[in-house]
């Protein structure tokens, strides 16, 4: 184990919320460290972004540790992190959890075929250099991310024949009207619409089967009682986002259906542990930044500065309510997977095998569902939604680690 580090404020996650919190804490003279498992700060939305917001973090004086994965908090004030195959311990007085969100996938036949990717997943790889010019990409699932991803792909030369949004037109219209109360969102929506000219945006439409032998060749979409099959190179699919609450749960913070419970200072039910952005409830980048600012100042003990940012935060938060109502998942999607459809991709567990079990524990014991490397991050939300099994407790390590690195820490 390498040398021990100590910080006043440890920020877990270097996306919009973590960057905002890290800047606020470091600029308030707290010894601050921001860690992230990705090779560069920015999170998903600012991936590959080298603009002001990312450089401000570096200039804030915060210690930024990338390619660093937080795997355990064996006691309060201690974090074990993994860098490559080496682990080390960081001690902290206050923590800001800014672990973001992941995509939600609803299993359907063919969704395990290569080139069926997350909507954000394909965008991330495209930002990393995966060539998409001239490729046909069907974008499907639910939520505003589909529009952003489709616009990005088109800008970079992809052909997007259709965006299939499962939500109904009526709900989307009501959401559209609610945007009138949020002028910046309205402008963003108008810009996306302009970028997406020529692409069909179909509401009440969803994928029912992906086809292909070695990889994806086409996808069948369902709408208004009819199906049609669209040839494509990629299917970019995601049914909204799921909060990454594993670290908060490990620390004993209360988590309810909406996410990690926080007070006006963004402090969780565990004193000294703060939370900002998507883990407190899916709401998007503006809320993440606003919450991160409050959390960072509060964690650094700069209460006046934190309080001065309450109003800005509370005004952007109102947007999230309409968002989650408009894109609520329709029950029809529960019928997409058949008994042969794989639900747990790590252990190849089908829905048919899971239906014979009665809860997570029983499912794990008999099928190994949720026990592979992703530790249920992909299948967990799907199983919860499909079968109604409530989530189980989180245990360390938060991510799979080489066995040698664990034995070093426990020495």
């Amino acid at each position: 184990m390498s040398s021990e580090l100590h910080f006043d404020v440890l920020v877990a996650g270097a996306g919009p919320a973590g960057i905002a919190a890290g800047c606020a804490a470091a600029e308030s003279s707290a010894r601050t460290c921001v860690i992230d498992d990705n090779p560069a700060p920015g999170g998903q939305i600012w991936r590959g972004d080298t603009s002001q917001r990312v450089t401000r973090l570096v200039e804030s004086g915060a210690n930024v540790m990338t390619s660093t994965t937080l795997i355990d908090c064996p006691s309060k004030g201690v974090a074990v992190v993994l860098r490559g195959t080496q682990s080390c311990t960081i001690s902290w007085d206050r923590m800001v959890i800014a672990t973001g969100a992941r995509e939600r996938w609803i299993p359907f036949p063919g969704w395990t075929l290569p080139n069926v990717m997350g909507a954000g997943g394909l965008q991330a790889l495209a930002k990393g250099g995966l060539p998409i010019r001239g490729k046909r990409v069907v974008v499907a699932g639910s939520g505003p991310l589909l529009l952003a991803v489709a616009a990005y792909l088109k800008q970079h030369g992809a052909i997007v024949p259709v965006i299939a949004e499962q939500a109904d037109f009526g709900k989307l219209m009501r959401f559209g009207m609610s945007l009138l109360a949020h002028p910046t969102k309205l402008i963003q929506a108008a810009m996306l619409q302009a970028q997406l000219a020529g692409t069909g945006y179909l509401s009440g439409c969803w994928p029912v089967r992906a086809h292909g032998k070695a990889h994806l060749e086409s996808v069948t979409l369902f709408r208004n009682g009819r199906t049609r099959t669209v040839p494509c190179d990629y299917l970019a699919v995601g049914f909204g986002l799921v909060s990454n609450t594993e670290l908060a749960e490990l620390l004993g913070c209360q988590v309810n259906e909406g996410g990690v419970v926080v007070d006006e200072w963004q402090e969780t039910t565990v004193a000294g542990v703060f939370c900002a952005g998507e883990p407190t409830g899916i709401g998007g980048v503006d809320i993440a930044i606003a919450e991160g600012v409050v959390a960072g100042y509060a964690a650094a003990g700069a209460k006046d500065k934190a309080r001065a940012n309450f109003r800005a935060r509370d005004s952007v938060r109102r947007f999230a309510v309409g968002l989650n109502e408009a894109f609520a998942l329709r029950p029809d999607l529960k019928a997409l997977a058949d008994d042969e459809t794989i639900v747990c991709r790590c252990e190849d567990v089908t829905l048919g095998r899971l239906k014979a079990r009665h809860d997570w524990r029983d499912g794990k014991l008999h099928t190994r569902c949720g026990m592979g490397p992703c530790q249920g991050r992909v299948c967990g939300p799907a199983v919860e939604w499909l079968l109604g099994w409530p989530r189980t407790s989180v245990r360390p390590p938060l991510y799979p680690v080489p066995i040698g690195s664990i034995s070093e820490v426990r020495k």
Binding site: R102, M117, G121, A124, H215, C374, V378
Partner: protein, 84 residues
């Protein structure tokens, strides 16, 4: 930092822009869109692109189960994916 780096993927040499994730380089190297075989032998490629799903895991410089989407390519790297 050099503008391009050269690495070996399944014995094949490939040059990519510095900073390219190994997952992208491996898909470029081909010949398939799959990087690994599942527990029951199914072909799998990247899903989440952000270090959550582990569907892109490969062997990098002898270290197995490495998430290729979160690992930038480096000069001289040796990458092995499952065979197809």
């Amino acid at each position: 930092m050099p503008e391009t780096v050269s690495l070996t993927i399944n014995g094949r040499k490939i040059s990519v822009a510095a900073g390219t994730p190994v997952a992208v380089a491996a898909l470029l190297a081909g010949p398939t869109a799959a990087l690994r075989r599942s527990a029951h032998g199914g072909a799998r490629g990247p899903l989440c692109g952000m270090g959550i799903c582990y569907e892109c895991r490969v062997t990098i410089d002898g270290v197995s189960q490495t998430k290729s989407c979160q690992t930038p390519c480096r000069d001289g790297m040796v990458v092995v994916t499952d065979e197809f």
